[in-house]
């Protein structure tokens, strides 16, 4: 009766979680940026699958007479935004419209930054599903840092255009959570591409997927282990011990070039990059006590966790997350489907937000990802109900700038500010209403979805012939 996609993913250990931040609270210290590129690498070609993304053709566009939720300041009522050369050129009560600009009258509707979903399996668990397209968990070994999600992404996954229609312009596609260390994530622009390289966000850092708790021990319990949570922790530590050793050898060789270089190891290369601060750790973890243990492991080996994904018990350690500067990539109301998800509360985001940690609304679900605005709205109401109201100005950050931070892209996307990429949504109404949906979506200034114009609705190769073209909305 139901899609049960998530059920299947959980069966394979794919379903997981994430965190975020607020403006009213102290901004967690961010050391990752400063470290980027400083470490030597063990490979002469650190970017073997470079992005070939080229922005789609755009024209100078002004959207006027709109309410702008900027994620960078208070709501601008009845304002305007100028998109030029793929960038946001101006935002304010008024903007100067160049002579060649297409002027869109927003008629009192809302404009927000494009949504960023930092927990997706699009492309790696592509529709229509089944074994042939189940490419998200390399469940052959509990530690597989050597795999890269991008090598599983099917660019013709019909879920991509639906995500775009839901306003998602940037996705982090993660390996599943069957493994303690699941492999590299990839950050994609939600755009048509013949190859995954054509969808890759230029310059985005890689993420590393790690997973706590029930999934790894369930998947490997009868297959040589780990079969317990203590086995899980031994597994992470053993991997990091090897990685520290590997990094030291390579850093030494990179510095002096004495003798033959050490032998390359694909998995350890990835872990060494995390230790050097060049990759961001995204850790699937439900329970408060396990998150605290993962933080200690990170301290032991000198890496940082960027975001806990799922974190249904994040509210129990919201103070710790704030202190550590770790985001929480969270669901509004998923819970109770497994023991470690039992203590889910709808006010999780509001509580974490109030404690000063970064909140991110994530999906881990191809359907929920299309309505992250609705997920945020549910979490806002849950906060209001317990006396922790969350403003729209704050909640928009949960969907945009906070996940952009989790991906290390908050200098490029996630807010409506001059100079940022023109990833923009024009909504049919207040984005936190159940009746609103994206009407138009721009990526780097190019209009890639228009609900009112069937010719501006991307159809994947797969859909041709198989999926009825209704010529209306998604």
């Amino acid at each position: 009766m139901r899609a049960f996609l998530c059920l299947l993913l959980i069966g394979a250990g794919a379903c997981a979680s994430a965190p975020s931040q607020t403006t009213t609270s102290p901004t967690p210290r961010d050391t990752t940026q400063a470290d980027v590129g400083r470490g030597a690498t063990s490979t002469p070609n650190a970017d073997p699958f470079p992005s070939t993304y080229v922005p789609f053709p755009s024209r100078t566009t002004v959207i006027r007479n709109v309410n702008l939720l900027t994620a960078a300041g208070p709501l601008i009522r009845n304002g305007a935004i100028l998109l030029q050369n793929g960038k946001i050129a101006a935002v304010g009560a008024t903007v100067d419209a160049p002579a060649d600009a297409l002027v869109i009258d927003g008629a009192g509707k809302y404009v927000t930054p494009g949504i960023v979903d930092d927990h997706s399996h699009l492309g790696v668990y592509a529709a229509p599903g089944g074994n042939a397209l189940s490419d998200g968990n390399e469940a052959t070994n509990p530690t597989t840092p050597q795999v890269w999600a991008e090598h599983s992404v099917w660019p013709q996954d019909p879920q991509f255009p639906r995500n775009l229609a839901g306003g998602v312009t940037t996705l982090q596609v993660l390996p599943g959570s069957a493994n303690l260390i699941g492999g590299r994530s990839v950050v994609l622009k939600v755009v048509p591409g013949r190859t995954v390289q054509a969808m890759k966000f230029p310059g985005a850092k890689y993420g590393l997927k790690m997973a706590c708790g029930e999934n790894p021990k369930r998947v490997y319990g009868q297959r040589g282990g780990p079969s317990t949570r203590m086995g899980n922790v031994a597994g992470y530590r053993a991997a990091w011990i090897r990685a520290v050793d590997y990094r030291r050898k390579w850093d030494k060789w990179n510095a002096d070039h004495k003798g033959d270089p050490p032998t390359r190891d694909l998995g350890l290369e990835t872990l060494a990059e995390v230790l050097r601060g060049n990759m961001l750790v995204h850790n699937h973890c439900y329970r408060a006590d396990e998150m605290a243990q993962m933080i200690d492991i990170a301290h032991e080996f000198g890496y940082k966790i960027r975001s806990f994904h799922h974190g249904v018990e994040a509210y129990k350690i919201a103070d710790l997350l704030a202190k550590e500067g770790i985001a929480g990539s969270l669901w509004a109301d998923w819970g109770s489907f497994k023991m470690e998800a039992l203590d889910a509360v709808k006010a999780n985001m509001a509580l974490v937000n109030a404690a000063g940690a970064r909140v991110i609304v994530h999906s881990d679900d191809p359907s929920g990802s299309q309505r992250l605005n609705q997920e945020a709205a549910k979490a806002m109401e849950a906060g209001a109900e317990i006396g922790l109201p969350v403003s729209e100005d704050q909640a928009i950050k949960w969907l945009t700038i906070n996940p952009a931070w989790a991906l290390g892209l908050d200098d490029k996307i996630g807010s409506l500010e001059a100079g940022k990429n023109a990833d923009v949504i024009l909504w049919t109404g207040d984005p936190f209403s159940v009746y609103s949906k994206p009407e138009k979506v721009w990526v780097d200034g190019a209009l890639l979805f228009d609900r009112t114009d069937p010719s501006q609705q991307w159809r994947t190769d797969f859909e041709l012939g198989f999926v009825p073209f209704t010529g209306t909305s998604r």
């Binding site: 009766m1 139901r2 899609a3 049960f4 996609l5 998530c6 059920l7 299947l8 959980i10 529709a127 229509p128 599903g129 089944g130 019909p158 879920q159 639906r162 029930e214 509210y315 129990k316 919201a318 103070d319 109301d333 998923w334 819970g335 109770s336 489907f337 497994k338 023991m339 998800a341 039992l342 203590d343 889910a344 509360v345 709808k346 006010a347 509580l351 404690a355 191809p366 359907s367 309505r371 609705q374 549910k378 806002m380 109401e381 109900e385 317990i386 936190f432 159940v434 009746y435 609103s436 949906k437 797969f462 859909e463 198989f466 999926v467 009825p468 209704t470 209306t472 909305s473 998604r474």
Partner: protein
């Protein structure tokens, strides 16, 4: 019938004792915008609940003396919502096997005799969150196999399953979309199997004596399963067929015609493609409004406009809360109102969406005389909403089930109390 006078006296007698736990009282909800669903909206309407049942609904209804008054001025009053299909109460934690009671082993994937509600857990901690958001009744359905078993309609009230039951059985459930899960190889074979079982039911029905003397040929289903299917071939118990693909819906309709089965379609991803035929055959559809992914080769045409398009064509539609959900489905029965909001967003009228979460499912499952509308004689299942029930900012301010108001703390509320001020406390305040 209990006289009005007697009711009043009863209320007065009981006030001041443990009135909160009793339903033998009169409640007057006044001043609200009342949606009876069975009739037109009433501005500034009054709903009277007496002895657990609705006794009056209208614009100019006298308030009985001694009635507990609920001022609903500026609010919206609706029947309690009815979720048309869920595993609430029979699946507490999807990945903990001893909390899963929604599937029967059956024989050859036929479990028609399976009465899923016998395994219902009235103490599920997910009941209160559902009720808190206005879901006061639900249809608990079995899943799995070819014939999954029988469904029941229950009210979300504390007590035993006996206390909760409104009607049972309310439908026989068959899953027709996936031959593999039915232990068969192809769709055609699946339909043949269903026909064989229905044929055998017919034969069994008219040859009981011979069967009891062991003088009949072997049947495709067990005695109890055949017996359970007799009301289906007699047209007394609807057959709820879970099916998505257009061709499979068509096959189910042919089968229903051939055996005079009263058919309902569940899930029905591609039902919109044959909306006119479903309307002509008066076959209702239970579906969601958030699914638009071609999630399998049997659901390539899945789209969010399904519910609205079906309704536009004249098909009766009920919405399923969290229809696209997976393992968290039972926890999120409370999202029925979100499903309704999305149905409106994708083309259903607001009134039809309200009907699809109240009276429509009640009627499909033969309980329209008990729940789903605000009419005298119906159960006192009433919700006072702070605004549009489908909007996120709206709260169910008063939830009555069988005339009793519920506002108890959920397990989630208790957790929040513990951890709201970190580091939190291990003490739980005693119940008031």
């Amino acid at each position: 019938m209990i006289s009005y006078k007697l009711i009043t006296r009863t209320v007065i007698t009981l006030l001041g004792s443990t009135a909160a736990t009793l339903n033998a009282q009169t409640i007057a909800i006044t001043g609200g915008k009342v949606y009876p669903v069975s009739g037109p909206v009433i501005e500034n309407g009054t709903v009277i609940i007496t002895n657990g049942k609705i006794s009056a609904v209208g614009a100019n209804v006298p308030i009985p003396a001694g009635a507990q008054r609920i001022d609903a001025t500026g609010k919206i009053v609706t029947p309690g919502f009815v979720n048309s299909s869920t595993q609430l109460g029979v699946q507490e934690i999807a990945q903990v096997n001893d909390t899963r009671d929604m599937t029967a082993r059956g024989k050859d994937n036929i479990a028609a005799a399976f009465t899923v509600w016998e395994g219902l857990n009235p103490n599920s901690v997910m009941m209160a969150p559902a009720r808190k958001e206005g879901v006061t009744s639900f249809v608990v359905v079995p899943t799995g196999g070819l014939i999954a078993g029988q469904a029941a309609l229950v009210d979300v009230v504390p007590g035993t399953t006996t206390d909760m039951l409104v009607r049972a059985p309310v439908a026989m459930v068959a899953e027709v979309g996936d031959p593999q899960s039915a232990g068969l190889n192809s769709r055609g074979e699946l339909i043949v199997k269903l026909r064989e079982v229905l044929e055998d039911t017919r034969y069994f029905q008219s040859h009981r004596d011979a069967f009891d003397r062991a003088q009949t040929r072997p049947f495709a289903a067990s005695r109890l399963d055949l017996q359970a299917l007799i009301p289906v071939i007699e047209g007394r118990l609807p057959l709820l067929v879970t099916v998505d693909r257009e061709a499979d819906i068509d096959a189910a309709m042919r089968l229903a015609r051939d055996y005079n089965v009263k058919l309902m379609i569940g899930s029905g991803a591609e039902a919109w493609m044959m909306a006119d035929k479903l309307a002509a055959a008066h076959i209702p559809v239970l579906t969601g409004a958030e699914n638009n992914i071609p999630a399998g080769f049997a659901a390539l045409g899945q789209r969010q406009e399904n519910a609205g398009l079906l309704r536009k064509a004249g098909v009766e539609v009920a919405l399923i809360g969290n229809a696209g959900g997976g393992d968290e489905e039972a926890f999120n029965v409370r999202n029925l109102r979100q499903e309704a909001g999305n149905a409106v967003s994708y083309g259903m009228t607001w009134d039809d969406a309200l009907r699809a979460v109240t009276l429509a499912p009640a009627e499909f499952f033969g309980a329209g005389d008990r729940v789903g509308s605000l009419q005298p004689g119906r159960e006192g299942n009433v919700v006072v909403w702070s605004g549009d029930p489908f909007e996120f900012t709206t709260r169910a301010e008063h939830v009555f089930v069988r005339g009793r108001e519920y506002h108890e703390k959920t397990r989630q509320d208790l957790l929040i109390e513990r951890y709201r001020n970190l580091p939190g406390t291990h003490n739980t305040p005693p119940p008031q």
